[in-house]
């Protein structure tokens, strides 16, 4: 069953010294999805991606990518495309040099496709990449990973250094590549806003743990905002998982995970946007939920 997944991890963790960069991460992404990997800085996004491409070895748990254990076999390396943070390229080499190197380092290499993409974006092919703009470098990096014809593409904050226009162009390029079919993608970002348009799946990491993993439609359907007269948390009906509480003098506002309809008629129920859900979970991840609830309970 796991071979059907693009990504499947269970209890995956990575420890550096005594710090866990990623802990107990269990996620599953079916193939053909574009997954947003979001979380605040230092949440473990880069670590997860490095574990998935085999650049790091896990300290605990296991990962399976396209039915293979990430590692150093040509078969595995051929199936993935990885663009690391800050788009590392050989600074004094040109885009053309990079494409020619790629021919020699890969079994399958779509040189023509990459050249067409870069020509369409009018990116200079023969200048050292250090002299290109951040947006152009990101496009060169994307063309290089796409030229490998990977089945799974993993991009680590590819748009972090780009201006809004370059971001949009990058996302359009990515969307076009996905539209060609057969490709699963994971894109990490600390900004969800960028990714919402192209992604249909979401993994949220916070404080080195997985907070959410699912399709965006499911996540939106599974969360509600409740507003009603002020009350203690013990009075909230079972079946609702409280993610975020905001108490004012007269009102209690909740962001809850629901498994069915909300029964208590004193609540005003509304749908929540993805960004609000994600932000609520990020806060939730920073403070353990139990402590948060106990604290609020005492305040009553």
């Amino acid at each position: 069953m796991s071979t059907a997944s693009a990504i499947h991890t269970s209890g995956l963790g990575k420890r550096y010294g005594s710090n866990w960069a990623l802990q107990d991460c269990s996620v599953s992404v079916p193939p053909g999805h574009v997954t947003a990997l979001v979380g605040p800085n230092g949440a473990g996004k880069t670590t997860l991606l490095k574990l998935l491409v085999g650049l790091c070895a896990p300290s605990s748990g296991e990962a399976e990518v396209l039915g293979q254990v990430p590692g150093q076999s040509e078969e595995f390396l051929a199936s993935i495309g990885y663009l690391a943070q800050d788009v590392p390229l050989y600074k004094h080499l040109s885009a053309d040099d990079h494409l020619r190197i790629g021919i020699h380092l890969n079994l399958d290499w779509d040189s023509d496709g990459a050249r067409e993409r870069l020509a369409a974006l009018t990116i200079p092919m023969n200048r050292p990449v250090a002299t290109l703009s951040g947006g152009q470098r990101a496009q060169v990096g994307l063309s290089l990973v796409l030229a490998k014809r990977p089945r799974l593409l993993l991009l680590d904050e590819p748009m972090a250094a780009l201006d809004p226009l370059a971001r949009r162009e990058f996302l359009e390029s990515l969307a076009a590549a996905v539209a060609d079919g057969g490709l699963s993608v994971v894109v990490s970002s600390h900004l969800l806003h960028d990714l919402e348009r192209v992604c249909d799946h979401l993994i949220l990491l916070s404080a080195s743990r997985t907070q959410l993993c699912g399709t965006i439609d499911e996540l939106i359907a599974g969360h509600r905002s409740l507003v009603g007269p002020r009350r203690g948390l013990s009075e909230i009906e079972p079946g609702l998982t409280v993610i975020k509480v905001t108490q004012t003098a007269k009102q209690t506002r909740l962001l809850v995970r629901v498994s069915g309809p909300v029964l208590d008629p004193s609540w005003e129920v509304a749908e929540v946007g993805l960004e609000d859900i994600v932000l609520a979970y990020m806060e939730h991840g920073e403070r353990p939920p139990v402590a948060q609830l106990v604290g609020l309970g005492r305040a009553q």
């Binding site: 690391a84 943070q85 590392p88 390229l89 380092l105």
Partner: protein, 287 residues
């Protein structure tokens, strides 16, 4: 892989080639009697392996880590082991070739000078002739690679490579090389001719005094140790008259190739250890 290595390192290769041509040209026009220049070139030749280690070996991996390009190189369809195989193979070949060429040029140029004056076995001439410079060059680049892989910072790796290589060379040349084979000793009469050794021999220590009873007194004979007739104010001529001799320990010149072989072997073993460490660093350590 070969294409990647050529494309990334061709400027270093061209510079190294240029240096070799410049050195050859310089030596062609240089009169052989200029002592200072000769010494300078001696030191330059001793430094050649170091240049390789610092400017090619150390940055090889440190630069990839510093700029993050290792994650690009190691997610192409080439395993890290294969990546390191090719890099080390080319590096060792070029280091050996360059070291050998520089040594050949300098040996050819300074042959007459060395055979006339200094011992071929002595520190200096020994280190720039024969096959040891090739072993030093190969060791230096590989040491640079592994230090770069450990420290992952170019400047730090270069400084550490410099220190480590110098330490290994000094320890081996100064402390271990004199004992590669047990030294010979020669007893000579005390007098104006004392200290005459066979042609080209390498004198290991200062002469020591040996008494008629066979006892070795070390570098000085104190007045309490000297025969009564020579007190006070021990003089060499008096000691000579009372049966004292000088003892010299040395390595004879005909051991030159044996010593070259032993020292080269030692560096080959060190290189092998460092290569094993490099594979460990690249293949098993997290990128």
């Amino acid at each position: 892989m070969t294409f990647l290595i050529w494309r990334l390192h061709r400027s270093q290769l061209l510079i190294a080639g240029g240096c070799l041509i410049a050195l050859t040209a310089l030596l062609l026009f240089l009169p052989k009697s200029e002592d200072h220049l000769i010494e300078t070139i001696d030191y330059l030749t001793i430094g050649v392996p170091l240049l390789l280690g610092l400017f090619w070996g150390a940055p090889l991996l440190a630069k990839e880590f510093e700029e993050g390009t290792n994650s690009l190189a190691w997610t192409q369809c080439v395993t890290r082991r294969r990546w390191l195989n090719s890099n080390l193979l080319w590096m060792i070949l070029v280091a050996a070739g360059w070291g050998a060429s520089v040594t050949a040029v300098v040996t050819w140029w300074s042959l007459s000078e060395i055979s006339l004056g200094r011992s071929r076995l002595g520190p200096g001439p020994f280190d720039i002739q024969g096959i040891v410079p090739v072993a030093y060059s190969v060791f230096a680049v590989v040491l640079g690679v592994v230090v770069g892989a450990m420290l992952r910072r170019v400047v730090l790796a270069m400084a550490t490579t410099l220190a480590a290589f110098a330490a290994v060379r000094i320890v081996i040349a100064g402390l271990i090389r004199p004992h590669f084979m047990s030294p010979l000793s020669q007893v000579t009469p005390i007098g104006p001719d004392s200290g005459a050794l066979p042609q080209g021999a390498w004198l290991l220590s200062n002469a020591t005094y040996v008494g008629p009873n066979g006892r070795n007194y070390g570098a000085f004979v104190t007045s309490s140790q000297a025969p009564a007739a020579c007190r006070p104010g021990v003089s060499d001529s008096c000691l000579a008259n009372h049966g004292f001799h000088l003892l010299l320990t040395y390595q004879p010149a005909d051991r030159f190739w044996a010593f070259q072989g032993i020292e080269t072997g030692l560096f080959v073993v060190l290189t092998a250890c460092v290569v094993a460490l490099a594979y460990r660093m690249v293949v098993t350590r997290d990128a």
